[in-house]
Symmetry: C2
Subunit: 303 residues, 2 copies
């Protein structure tokens, strides 16, 4: 069991889906990631919030065992995101983004955290991702990075620089194609591997996720759910389960990577069942194992 460090956003989200709306609830990539990963391994969170950030949210993370010593409170307002989803729930439409204190986020790792063996660079400015990587005193055993179209388009050079130094990239279908400049996903994965990360996790929303390692593919579907209320945070929750599971294992073997893909999918399948982290808050470890079994039923060739 190894420790895991995540650097990313902590936010207050306002979300509307066809199934309801919530105002200024707990959100942010690092939040979803760390909460999810905490079921598998010790997690340390580096982030920033404003002085308006409700203390109950910090308590929630702390109660799950997340080390929030690196969550800085700055004078000003917390990062706010407002978005909505249509019936297909596949893509968020961002209505408003207020960076607030997040605009001045300069992650600083204390001596202790610079030796964390598993590192997840959530979706932030690739210059900051690179800066975090540079702060590590020892090259972590595993570094994963998440990114998005905004950085692929706007900060391509910086992104390529940090990509060259990571082991795993998590990215969605369209962004993988955009990053590689190649419409075929198999070829796109090869192009991306050539940029640095030998392992690529392609996130496909309601269709699940695909793992590509040295040209070999593994696909895990999304769990068929009757009630999907809010997909916000699904990708980061997936990454938390994925990295958390890997950190809990002796070795990042091919078999462990496959199981990590399923644990990531399991965790994401819970997140989307309610708004914010509401479903994760009531999640019991036994439910994780139960759904892992259900995933097994979902994909095994022999009935």
């Amino acid at each position: 069991m190894a420790d895991l460090l995540v650097v990313g956003s902590v936010a207050l989200d306002s979300v509307e889906t066809p199934f309801g709306r919530v105002q200024e609830v707990l959100g942010g990539a690092a939040t979803y990631f760390s909460f999810s990963a905490s079921f598998f391994a010790p997690v340390h969170l580096i982030g920033i919030v404003g002085d308006d950030f409700p203390s109950e949210h910090v308590r929630l993370l702390r109660d799950r065992g997340v080390d929030v010593g690196g969550l800085k409170t700055s004078r000003g307002r917390t990062f706010r995101w407002t978005g909505e989803y249509g019936y297909d729930l596949n893509e968020a439409k961002t209505l408003d983004t207020q960076l607030n204190v997040f605009a001045e986020f300069r992650p600083a790792l204390d001596e202790r955290l610079r030796r964390t063996p598993f590192l997840f660079l959530a979706n932030i400015d690739p210059e900051l991702q690179l800066d975090v990587l540079r702060q590590m005193a020892v090259r972590p055993r595993l570094v994963a990075l998440d990114t998005m179209n905004f950085w692929i388009q706007g900060k391509r050079d910086a992104l390529l620089k940090v990509l060259a130094e990571v082991d795993i990239v998590t990215i969605n279908d369209a962004e993988a194609r955009q990053l590689a400049g190649e419409p075929n996903l198999v070829k796109a994965a090869r192009v991306i591997a050539g940029m640095g990360p030998k392992t690529i996790v392609v996130k496909r929303g309601e269709y699940g996720a695909m793992l590509v390692v040295n040209g070999a593919f593994f696909v895990v579907p999304a769990y068929p759910l009757e009630a999907v209320y809010d997909p916000t945070g699904a990708g980061d929750t997936f990454a938390g389960g994925f990295m958390g599971y890997l950190a809990s294992q002796e070795q990042v073997s091919a078999a462990a990577l496959r199981r990590a893909m399923v644990y990531g999918s399991v965790m994401a399948s819970f997140t989307v069942e309610d708004f914010s982290l509401d479903r994760l808050k009531r999640l019991e470890p036994a439910e994780i194992e139960e759904r892992y079994g259900a995933f097994h039923d979902l994909v095994r060739l022999e009935a």
Copy 2:
């Protein structure tokens, strides 16, 4: 090993994709279906072509062992379809449809075919699908039906009537939601099962296919291919492999259904590798088994 009957279109397709274009090549649902199914079981085809239909196409089917005794040649021109695909290859844009002799298609089954144990009603007017079902002297062991948005919208009553009498429906994501009037696919599958077919095969294009039987799900991804040239006929090729495999088995068991889903996906993965039936024409049975094994690698949880 049981016989299989397919009723549907035989066409001349003109297709443009980002990877090339073809003019008036062999196409049609019954064509793709029967060619694909012929690798697994004896197939009988009921269809109609015009007197302009190249005899080489008939020979091709006959050489694969497809019984084309029920392929009627009528005075006039063969059904023609013209379509194009963009880079995502997910949805065809129909540029032109000329029904020609297909407009007068009235499938007539001879005495012998009325006792075929496996029946596939390809995507045609649901009134014709029902008419074929009524002609069966013995209720087939398994009846599957394919349909599309055009009939869901335009001939809903007739479609509901025939759906009530079939065992399996093959349908794409969006059409399943449209048919059920329900955006959630899990709920939509339950609504459709209530209409008659206890087994639902949801076709998801580049994401593969999903099987729903009595509320239990099985998902098979599409095979990750480097070269996808033309998705035309993928769904019907899938159905051919799926039904052909089932017809080759002693029993339509839960395990056989899962394996059939994979064989359907295997066959579809070949079709899209070239235009028309060009890849299927050069397909060797050993390649089918090889790719079946590759699918196994693609989904198994343990590396």
